[in-house]
């Protein structure tokens, strides 16, 4: 007798994207029924948000294919900006252009301007720019060395002087503390980083970025490979950090955007469709496309 094939269960990454059915189909107020509570426990930034980066009519094309079309955005310290939109809408390309990582793609061309603290990023030395504008990736990617060396990596080889381990220790500890990882690893700093769990690895990557003292931190779906608990820890870290660092996060997870973002930019096919306060974009989107997307109509 033949047996039915076993059902393969596909693990859902991170927290599920909950898209409850709208109560009724008309009216702005009811367009979205997302109920994710914001991480309000964290105090808002003491100072008013301060602009760190700005894009002016930024366009990016891969060969003849336009990926980002004349997008103008502000990135402010003291708040989290979430880039949302369906796959292929250009949000990751936009993010990668902010630290000029997109230039590594041979066919990529750029139009428009990107400013960091009022100065065109093209005027900066690219290695200097990337220390000011750090980045976190979808997959945790610690380097194959010890936890300590991972965090110290960005601090070493600056100029001709080689700082000793002892000199680096305070900065490494500080970075691990800010990333919320210090308590878990403080006795094992010489252990290999790749032996940590996925969530710990991702927080180590945050610590590694923080160690070089960035003003802006770019997060490219940082929790998509993590379990819900690790996701929560990282989101709390993000909200903590926003008072010192301007944070841009690309996410497919609308609940995550609701939990952490202060401002939300919705992109579609390379265009910036809507930009505004998170509350407004989710509760009362102006554009029809945005309303469809945040209510789960497509994506």
């Amino acid at each position: 007798m033949k047996m039915p094939p076993p059902v393969r269960r596909i693990q859902v990454e991170g927290a599920p994207t909950v898209v409850p059915a709208p109560a009724n189909g008309n009216g702005h107020a009811s367009a979205v029924a997302g109920t994710a509570p914001r991480l309000k426990q964290m105090p808002r930034a003491a100072t008013t948000p301060l602009e760190r980066m700005r894009t002016e009519k930024l366009s990016i094309a891969y060969g003849s294919k336009l990926a980002v079309n004349e997008v103008s955005l502000n990135v402010r310290q003291g708040e989290v900006l979430a880039l949302i939109g369906p796959s292929g809408c250009g949000k990751t390309t936009l993010l990668r252009s902010l630290n000029r990582l997109v230039e590594l793609t041979p066919a990529a061309t750029r139009g428009g301007r990107i400013l960091l603290d009022g100065e065109d990023v093209d005027g900066y030395d690219v290695t200097w720019l990337r220390r000011r504008v750090g980045m976190l990736f979808q997959q945790p990617n610690p380097f194959p060395m010890s936890i300590f060396d991972n965090v110290a990596y960005g601090l070493r080889e600056r100029g001709s002087r080689k700082p000793s381990k002892k000199e680096l220790e305070p900065a490494v500890t500080e970075a691990l503390h800010r990333a919320g990882l210090l308590d878990e690893v403080k006795d094992n700093l010489d252990h290999p980083a790749l032996a940590l769990s996925g969530g710990q690895q991702q927080r180590l990557c945050i610590a590694r970025s923080l160690a070089v003292g960035p003003e802006v931190l770019l997060l490219d779906e940082p929790c998509s490979a993590l379990d819900p608990i690790s996701t929560q820890t990282i989101e709390e870290t993000i909200v903590h950090l926003r008072s010192e660092i301007a944070i841009v996060i690309v996410t497919h997870n609308l609940q995550q955007a609701q939990r952490v973002a202060d401002h939300v930019a919705f992109m579609y096919l390379g265009d910036l469709i809507e930009y505004g306060e998170a509350e407004q974009v989710f509760r009362a989107p102006v554009a029809e496309r945005t309303r469809e997307y945040v209510s789960g109509g497509f994506g």
Binding site: M1, K2, M3, P5, P6, N99, L101, L104, T127, W128, L129, R130, R131, G134, M135, F137, Q138, Q139, P140, N141, F143, P144, M145, Y153, G154, E157, P192, L194, A195, C205, R208, S209, V212, A225
Partner: protein
């Protein structure tokens, strides 16, 4: 059976695991059978070689053979094969000292730079050609090159002050070409297996390409490099043609004139492969017991290297997700 499907699935017997499912067609079953047969046959051949050499080798091998010099002249009984053993290691080390750094450098250039594209393609084809060239061709080519008087410092000179073109240095140098493709291949594979975002993470910390290669990519490729180097040494140790033509295949060391170490490196000698050939009745000699003993030592060295490769690759630590 339908009553307890879970129990059946929890502890499948061997046959169920081989088939994977009950719905395999007759063709699939024959295919699986052939695959098993081929695997078992290979194991049987390997076991036969090792057992035969073990029995013969242990029968004839004595420690004094390993630690004493051969007697001069072919066909003379007596003497050990210390010189060929040392010669084997000299050639392998010389070859890998050249092929290792060169191979890693080529692999890094091919994976991380590879500009201009035509040059990268040319380098790739060059490596393929070297990998596909029979070692006898490399040997003869090497002889022609190193018999030029420009290279007279590298080997003993014969009549008319033309260099012989035969020495450990020359043999090791040409042997490095045997190991080079293996080092390049294994290192490239290791570099390719590092996801792009790991490189980008390093760039995002304000590092340039050179320090990313030095601090991240090469350390992450250690295992691949180790595998390539070990395989390359195995290839060198097993080669016969280059030893015959470019080393002289003399039973004993026959140093050149000059400083002690240098005279050895620029002098002639042999390795275990040519020693076996020169002593086996199947080859030039009439001392089968010496040939068996030396072949056993040779096999042991090569097996030890293969085992080392296994150790290097098996310990594969945690890695990244793509």
């Amino acid at each position: 059976m339908s009553a307890h499907p879970a129990a059946t699935r929890a502890a499948p017997d061997l046959w169920t695991r081989i088939r994977g499912s009950e719905s395999w067609s007759i063709g699939d079953r024959i295919g699986v059978g052939l695959a098993w047969g081929a695997g078992l046959l290979l194991c049987a051949i390997a076991v036969a070689i090792v057992l035969y050499m073990l029995v013969r080798g242990l029968q004839y091998l004595s420690l004094s053979d390993v630690f004493s010099h051969p007697l001069p002249g072919l066909g003379e009984s007596g003497g050990g094969f210390l010189d060929p053993i040392i010669g084997t290691f000299i050639v392998a080390i010389l070859g890998i000292v050249i092929a290792g750094p060169l191979g890693v450098a080529i692999a890094v250039w091919l994976t991380e730079y590879a500009r201009p594209a035509w040059l990268a393609r040319a380098v790739e084809s060059g490596i393929e050609i070297v990998a596909g060239t029979p070692s006898i061709v490399l040997a003869i080519f090497g002889l022609i090159v190193f018999q030029q008087s420009f290279f007279s410092a590298l080997s003993p000179t014969g009549e008319g002050a033309t260099p012989l073109g035969r020495s450990f240095l020359i043999a090791g140098g040409m042997m490095s070409l045997l190991a080079l493709p293996l080092v390049v291949g294994a290192t490239r594979e290791a570099l390719h297996s590092i996801p792009r975002h790991v490189r980008e993470a390093s760039y995002s910390l304000g590092k340039d390409r050179a320090s990313t290669i030095r601090r991240v990519l090469l350390p992450a490729s250690r295992r691949g490099i180790g595998t390539g180097v070990t395989l390359g040494m195995g290839r060198i140790i097993g080669d016969t043609a280059i030893v015959f033509i470019l080393l002289g295949a003399t039973l004993r060391f026959e140093p050149n004139t000059g400083l002690p170490g240098w005279s050895l490196l620029t002098g002639n000698g042999s390795t275990l492969t040519t020693y076996v050939y020169n002593n086996s009745p199947a080859g030039e000699g009439g001392q089968p017991e010496k040939a068996y003993a030396a072949a056993f030592v040779l096999l042991a060295i090569v097996l030890a290297l293969n085992f080392a490769v296994d150790l290097i690759t098996r310990g594969k630590g945690k890695s990244w997700t793509r």
